[in-house]
């Protein structure tokens, strides 16, 4: 065991300890990626990917003649329904979307307040989101709620 051997071995040991110990000493600056609260959103997003993939596959299968027109129509409608349902769910969960919707709601509320102050009552409001409505509206232009018209 020569002196050089000993030197290199010591160097290796020190290098290892430094490399391994550095994160422990420097503690603070590591971002925590554990956004556990976002788990639901992430799993919904994965499901969305799956659904879109399924729709793509279906279209391709139809184009290459493995599914006939009738089955294709049925399956696609079914998938589209699932997708819409999923997207609504996503929007309800996504914090940014929730925030955006909340802002919308408040703005509309303010507007309506002002409008009714100016124009008086008789102005219709959407039963769902309180947006102002025209008398000819069959659907609320803001949230899409179907309005029953006699």
């Amino acid at each position: 065991m020569t002196a050089i051997d000993v030197a290199i071995i010591c160097l290796m040991a020190i290098g290892l300890v430094v490399c391994v110990g550095e994160p422990l000493v420097r503690r603070v600056s590591y971002k925590s990626h554990g956004r556990e609260d976002n788990n639901e959103a992430e799993s919904l997003l994965l499901q969305k990917e799956m659904l879109y993939g399924a729709i793509r596959d279906l279209d391709f299968d139809f184009q290459t003649g493995k599914v006939d027109q009738k089955d294709y129509g049925e399956l696609r409608r079914q998938l589209e329904r699932e997708a819409v349902h999923l997207l609504r769910h996503l929007d309800a969960v996504d914090p940014l979307v929730v925030f955006a919707n909340e802002v919308e709601r408040q703005v509309l509320g303010l507007r309506r307040h002002r409008t009714s102050a100016v124009c008086g009552s008789g102005q219709e409001a959407c039963p769902n989101c309180d947006a102002p409505l025209e008398s000819s509206d069959n659907f609320c232009p803001s949230c899409g709620q179907a309005l029953r018209r006699v």
Partner: protein, 667 residues
Amino acid sequence: MNNIGGAALLFAFVAAIYAVVIALLGARLRRQEMIRSAERATYGVFGLVTITMVVILYALLVLDFRLQYVASVSSRAMPTFYVIAALWGGQEGSMLLWLWLLAMYSAIVMVQNRHRNRELMPYVIATLMTTALLFLAMLVIVENPFRQLPQVPRDGQGLNPLLQNPLMVIHPPNLYLGFVGFAVPFAFAIGALASGRLDTQWIRSIRRWTLVAWLFLSIGILLGGQWAYVELGWGGYWAWDPVENASFMPWLTGTAFLHSVMIQEKKGMLKVWNMALVILTYALSIFGTFLTRSGVIASVHAFAQSSLGPYFLLYLAGIVGIAVALLVKRLPELRSDHRLESVVSRESSFLFNNLFLVGIMFAVLWGTLFPIISEAVRGVKISVAAPFFNQVNIPLGLGLLFLSGVCPLIAWRKASVRNLRCNFLYPLSLSFVITAVLYTLGIRHVVALISFAICLFVFGTIVLEFYRGTRARRAVSGGTVWQAFVSLIRRNRRRYGGYIVHFGVVLIFVGITGSSAYQIEQNVVLHPGESALVGTFILQYDDLTRMIESTYEAFIAKLTVLRNGKYLTTLYPEKRLYFAQNQPTTEVALRTRPFEDLYIIMAGFEPSKTATFKVFVNPLVFWMWMGGLVMVLGTAIAIWPERYPYVPARQHTAGQVEMTAAPGSRL
């Protein structure tokens, strides 16, 4: 120098222990910095093991015979190329290679997941480093490559001449790249189970790893077969030898996993099944490594008893035990998201595919283990040989092949039966017509006919798929046929890469069928000047000459090969006597053509130069190796990264905001 290597190995051992402990601790205490430290330790293990490898390599290149390992696998006369290859020519060295590959893979995994899968990583690290510990422990304690000899010999033993062959040089590394590769999916499976993040994210993360491991394992198995064919001189390439089986079994379950994973990705089904498959594949890889070394089953490969068995068994029992316990614990959370919509769907055909593959695996496992079991239970060792394996696996294999032809014709979720019947038409007709032609040409072997028929059918379905896909592509975006074809493959790499792999498998089946059903084997005894007729070949024995090379003495027979009076080639089967080993080897003389191989060995000769030759005519073997190349091509296409890769979930949140900035807009 060697001391540095020995120290590096020891430090790696310590670092690996540290990594396991701190990773698990960090997971429990939820301290990111501990997990980062474990990552550093993983990098450290890689660096240290690399140092060890370099030191051994250096010792080999300078022929440092103080080291027992170097003395046992190298010699002064050996060409430098093989001295380097001798690194994995012996027990200690090959284990070091396994360890190094594992360390390298682990380091790559660390880099890939710096900002991903954070919840899984502690357990991934712990699993990978525990495996590293297995090998480190064996290397440090039992089979230390730095062991020194009491007396320095003048020359080393040298590598056995049968191993001094390019094929044998790359066969072990390939196999190891496969075996070790499966450790990564396994580690992620454990990570998913332990952390509770059981959604499909872990599967997406390991998709390429699984493909890469599978690819190398496939190549390794084919290379092993090719080596046996070209070097061992018995005219065949596969003997259902326990060690061959040991590499085949993880390949079978790995293939099953590759397919069933797609069902989980698309429909969130088969979650428990996939977990079980990954655990099983990895367990079989370790078991295979163990079988090769412990001599538990007497085979052509391993007679020697070794003290490593207990280490492997302990590790295997431990790791599988933990995996199964975790799986059971998470069982309630692994429910399927969807049901199977229709029996006639691609999902169900994938399920059948899995059943076949796992069925073959169990047959092989049974045949391989039965001797041990019978010895343990009844005290009598009953051996299981090729007939059993062939009887069971041929029907299953053909069924599987047929399935691979049917499956592309079926749609995901639910196939329209009417369309299915239409789609069957062309490939079935092709198959029927050509098989009828083969029959009239004289092919009467029943199993061979069935096999060829199925091969043709599958080939037909693959061609049909490419044709229809190209046509659909053209209908959508125009362009020439070639442009549509290329764009089709580019946009569906997985699917069409997979079809190409299937085509490779078809070619392999063609090769196996031809060489199994129609092999000609003949012994001919000839005096110099005499000729013999074997198959359609006329072999004229010209002479026997003796040559002395640096490491061996050779007796070379000269055979002129003719057919229908025309000269084809000259073949030189040899018998060599290597001085160092004092043992003869037989060199095969081989003429490979797409239609058939002419394979000759010189079984022996007399002083009068009368020689006995064993001649084989092996039809279609060429296509086996071709099929292997095609499989590699197909897998490369499937693995190739997309230019616009799947965007991880986090970024989608931003996209989501953009989309809903205009309220009321949805899809």
